[in-house]
């Protein structure tokens, strides 16, 4: 049994934990981080990064097919999805190693093993060969993240019924894939797999794919998916499945109780995630979780002094950039600085890396009206930008929701090529309380897709040119 004394112990090295660790080291704290699997957490190893690496390869593959229009002939018979898989693993590994390098550089002690909080200020870590380490810490941050949620009747076996992790680890393409859940992760897998030729069926309980996004954004993506022969069933739930000789036979129930059976080779269930709060010793702290989430205050303090919780274990949006920001706020609070409390939910960007991409923040027009704003919206089409036409990316639009009285920007919903990048200009306008005219009057480089942002703001001023 070895012992460590530290200013701050962080449980879990995902984008919440490892960013918190670096920030704490910058502020002069002695930091220990405890991780039972790989540095970087879900995000780097089995989440954001490998999925975006697959998406990038899918885009290369799609471009190769577009090159046929230039007279290039493709022989796809040697196409090896295994190589796509390997590229995604090497991106993940490279970044996970990068986190290891950052830990060293910032003199952060990494303890490999599973941590359990025994009492405030004390964590026991069980490492390889049952090796125990006691970590005494003045402060603790819980950042143990989340794992895929299974649904009754669809337990993950990771052979035929897959979680997102199982899907990321596939080394061969399924011929037919059914995806339950059309949130960001479900839609991204639909995009990836169908790009490489898998027949994809997307099933969603609610009334649109990407239920959290603006209905128009969802419509544009749905139209594109349909063009690509991705079958979409909304207002539909899966009742159960059977393994048959032809594959999995999945029973669906659509609107008005209409039943339908689909046969597929694999089933991917991406309907939600569960926080990892069950086996970390919360009971030893007297913290009661709420639906699995740890209740926290404005600076991510729990009810126990010197114990904080951030990231997917907290009931804020389950996103890597939220986890990182929460880590920074918690650490600055621990270090006695005075960070701005909490995160304004309207300033959290959401990004879906499909083609077209979908990126947004803040309110839709309908939600803004419900909140009492005198809300209006403008919608500027991508085809109004020369760059979109020149790059064969004319589908999409920039929607800006604003208050007609103060001109306050209330939300933005961008659908189209590079949407996940160009959103940030609008988000900066919102977060710095700029007005539409500030963006409208700024010169934007021609030809760029960012011109659509300028035009949508000019629309608010009655001065849009290309519409």
């Amino acid at each position: 049994m070895s012992e460590i004394s530290t200013d701050l112990a962080i449980l879990g090295a995902g984008p919440g934990g490892y960013v918190a660790a670096i920030r704490a080291a910058q502020l002069g704290l002695k930091v220990t981080i405890i991780e039972k699997e790989k540095l970087g957490g879900v995000c780097l190893n089995i989440g954001c990064i490998p999925s975006k690496a697959l998406i990038h390869q899918a885009e290369i593959f799609r471009h190769a097919r577009e090159a046929e229009a230039l007279g290039i002939k493709l022989d796809l018979s040697g196409f090896d999805y295994g190589r796509v898989f390997k590229k995604s693993r090497s991106a993940a590994d490279r970044l996970s190693k990068g986190v290891g390098f950052l830990m060293k550089k910032n003199e952060i002690q990494v303890v490999n093993g599973t941590g359990t909080i025994l009492e405030p200020g004390l964590i026991e870590v069980t490492g390889a060969e049952n090796k125990k380490t006691q970590v005494k810490a003045k402060n603790i941050i819980i950042a143990t993240g989340s794992r895929p949620r299974s649904i009754p009747g669809f337990d993950f076996n990771e052979k035929t019924v897959l979680s997102s992790t199982g899907a990321l680890m596939l080394e061969e393409l399924p011929k037919r894939l059914v995806i339950l859940g059309a949130g960001a992760i479900g839609c991204e897998f639909a995009h990836i797999m169908s790009s490489f030729g898998t027949e994809v069926t997307l099933v969603e309980m609610l009334d649109q794919i990407l239920p959290a996004e603006d209905p128009d954004a969802s419509k544009v993506l749905a139209a594109d998916f349909k063009k690509r022969k991705i079958a979409i069933h909304v207002k539909t739930r899966a009742l159960g499945y059977k393994e048959t000789k032809e594959g999995l036979s999945i029973e669906l129930e659509g609107p008005e109780g209409k039943k339908n059976t689909i046969t597929a080779d694999k089933l991917l269930v991406v309907t939600g995630r569960v926080p990892n709060t069950g086996e970390i010793g919360l009971e030893n702290l007297g913290i009661a979780s709420e639906k699995g989430f740890i209740p926290v205050g404005d600076f991510y303090q729990t009810t126990v002094p010197h114990v904080y919780a951030i990231g997917d274990v907290v009931s804020t949006p389950l996103l890597a950039h939220v986890a990182s920001k929460e880590g920074e706020i918690a650490v600055e609070h621990i270090a006695g600085h005075s960070p701005a409390p909490g995160i304004d939910p309207n300033l959290i960007p959401s990004a879906v890396y499909t083609e077209p991409e979908i990126a947004s923040f803040g309110l839709t027009k309908d939600k803004a009206i419900l909140k009492g704003f005198s809300a209006a919206e403008t919608s500027f089409p991508y085809r109004g930008a020369g760059k979109a036409v020149a790059t064969e990316a004319a589908e999409g639009m920039v929607k800006i929701v604003y208050d007609t009285g103060s001109k306050e920007i209330l939300g933005a919903h961008i659908t189209g090529s590079r949407a996940t990048e160009i959103l940030h200009e609008v988000l900066l306008a919102k977060s710095s309380e700029l007005l539409p005219e500030d963006v409208a009057s700024m010169i934007h480089a021609h030809p760029t897709l960012s011109e659509t942002v300028m035009e949508s703001m000019k629309m608010i001023e009655g001065a849009a040119i290309h519409i």
């Binding site: 710095s432 007005l435 005219e437 500030d438 009057s441």
Partner: protein, 64 residues
């Protein structure tokens, strides 16, 4: 940041000013609430601060 506090106390409510204008005013000890803004929506911007009189009654040096 005492200057920012003082400004919040001395004016009733929000002074519209760009962050850069605020920072320059703070560094030069200029009361931003006393400056008329020429930016979007009457916002005080850098050039307004630079042409404003300093405490000593002289215009602040423009440029560096």
């Amino acid at each position: 940041k005492p200057a920012a506090k003082k400004e919040a106390v001395t004016t009733d409510g929000w002074v519209k000013a760009s962050p850069l204008a605020r920072e320059i005013a703070r560094q030069r000890g200029i009361d931003i609430a006393a400056i008329e803004g020429s930016g979007p929506g009457g916002r005080v911007v850098k050039k307004d601060v630079e042409s404003a009189p300093t405490r000593a009654g002289r215009p602040a040096a423009s440029g560096f």
